[in-house]
Symmetry: C2
Subunit: 332 residues, 2 copies
């Protein structure tokens, strides 16, 4: 059933110039085969009756899913891989929760080829329900967790659904954001990095744009695959690689920091780490720009600027930074 | 890592006319809020250390995900909703396992607006990992199950990966098909029907194209929502609604039956049910056409013709049938 707070149906269709694409396609990358043996048959109940389920079979696990959009007229050939954050999927780059065009469409209209990732265990990548393959239990982000982690508001504000003053997260559409949550296995972080590295090697050359946990994954993969990653944009990353010095060929990087950081002890600590990481890179002569939105006079962004009401404005700043790297010859 | 049997990278890009779209967008429909209370904190291990996870929160469950593609030039305004089968997601309509364009692209190039569904519990719809909300355990389709259920070959053939003679399933790319498998809950069939009905009511008017389990779901929803469903195409459906007489306003229907039915006791029985269902509709004056591919001289199709090497040919027959219904005024 449609909820009272839902966005209007099917936005993005009115008054827009057409989107001219060379292709839309998808594929899976990475993962491995596993075989299950010696498990007993299981009686499974369904509305059609009970049947015997035999789990002993061969499977594929830990693959990533990518959906590729190639504009007909491009400003570059190197694709931009959009890497979601923790508990989310590639959907976060599509239509915003309140029904505006997302960064995917904005990037395509700017002439960039875009690959949207569902990393292993998330969304269309599928997940492993087999016994004994993954350790531990998954976690799922709920509404209060989202409210606090996305820095929509504080604990007291959650009780009355009162966001931070000036907050640009589309709070009236929070149900739509909540429906984007998918389970994740905290113990799978290294597998997620390995699969993303497989994706990047498959792409050959790419630009990575990662959000939150996805930003940290992108930085780790860029460190492992500096030949392939030509530029890196991180939106409020965490889980950054730790090293005494950056690896040879580490690409130019932009890190976006949003508003209300000082209202969260966790994010205050993580953004200090981000600043230290960027300063380290700069000491080694690597382009490591910080886009501190409030410092630039852009207020009210949550941890998820791609969902915020000024999402196009933030996307524009990222596109400008990428254009400058392209002009410098970082990629073509 | 890329597997030896993988398709060539990024197909669909060479030698194709551009795809002109009015928009690409996505949204969630249906589902419900649930609250978890009174659960103990859980210690969660991750590479970054152990942390406390509090599952007591508010969540959304059982929503469906839809990705909408609207061609710039359309032959109709009513969207075609593509409904995947059991254990699959909307990915099954995208690029084929061996890297050819899928029905999604074919339908778009024919000028049809297309919504691709990930129904509740599958793919980007997410799934419920919360305690006590869904009953039972999920099942996952493995390679042998796929081989037999998709009618690629028989049990003996699986041992040596020898498909039925003339089989058009792209067996060399079976890894890519296997990676599309996602877990499903057999006990959730009624929830899947309810969510699909929410989707159809949200769409207002639509054409449904459903594969396998998705075909049965579509027929049930068409019976519940005959005002909204203007035409129905089912590819090897099962789980068809049972009634003494079809409901008032039940839409015109096409059912596609593929090859090798006689090689499978299960499919022999299910296709008899399909024929009986269609005959019942015809006795009540409803258009209920059967497209029995081998009877039309089209041999070698598996249970998944959208993946088979002649997928474009089968799509063309469905598009022709839809064009005839459009010409009759079933939808516009």
């Amino acid at each position: 059933m449609t909820q009272a707070g839902d966005p209007p149906s099917w936005p993005e269709q009115a008054g827009m110039a057409e989107l001219r694409l060379a292709s839309v396609s998808s594929r899976y990358v990475g993962g491995r085969r596993v075989a299950v043996r010696g498990q007993p048959l299981r009686a499974v109940r369904s509305p059609a009756g009970t049947y015997q389920y035999d789990v002993n079979d061969a499977y594929y696990v830990e693959q990533a899913y990518m959906q590729r959009f190639v504009p007909a007229e491009r400003v570059q050939e190197v694709p931009v891989l959009l890497v979601h954050g923790g508990g989310l999927t590639g959907v976060c780059w599509e239509t915003t929760p309140d029904g505006r065009r997302g960064w995917l469409t904005g990037f395509l209209r700017a002439g960039l080829p875009v690959d949207v990732l569902d990393n292993m265990e998330r969304g269309r990548a599928g997940w492993c329900s087999l016994p004994g393959v993954w350790e531990g239990e998954p976690v799922l982000r709920g509404e209060r967790d989202m409210w606090l982690t996305f820095r929509i508001g504080d604990v007291d504000g959650y009780a009355t659904r009162t966001a931070f003053s000036g907050c640009r997260f589309p709070v009236r559409a929070i149900d739509a954001a909540l429906r984007q949550s998918v389970p994740r296995w905290p113990g799978n972080a290294d597998l997620a990095t390995a699969t993303l590295a497989d994706v990047v090697r498959e792409l050959g050359s790419c630009v990575l744009v990662g959000h939150s946990e996805g930003g940290g994954l992108c930085a780790k993969v860029a460190a492992a695959c500096p030949e392939q990653v030509r530029a890196l944009v991180m939106i409020e990353p965490h889980g950054l690689p730790l090293f005494p010095a950056p690896p040879e060929g580490y690409p130019p990087q932009l890190t976006v920091i949003a508003d209300y950081v000082s209202r969260s002890a966790v994010w205050t600590r993580l953004m200090i780490e981000v600043r230290e990481y960027s300063a380290l890179l700069r000491r080694h002569g690597i382009t490591a720009d910080l886009l501190d939105l409030p410092a630039e006079g852009i207020y009210g962004n949550s941890h998820n600027p791609m969902m915020d009401t000024n999402s196009d404005e933030v996307a524009g700043l990222i596109l400008d930074w990428l254009a400058a790297r392209r002009a410098e010859g970082a990629f073509a």
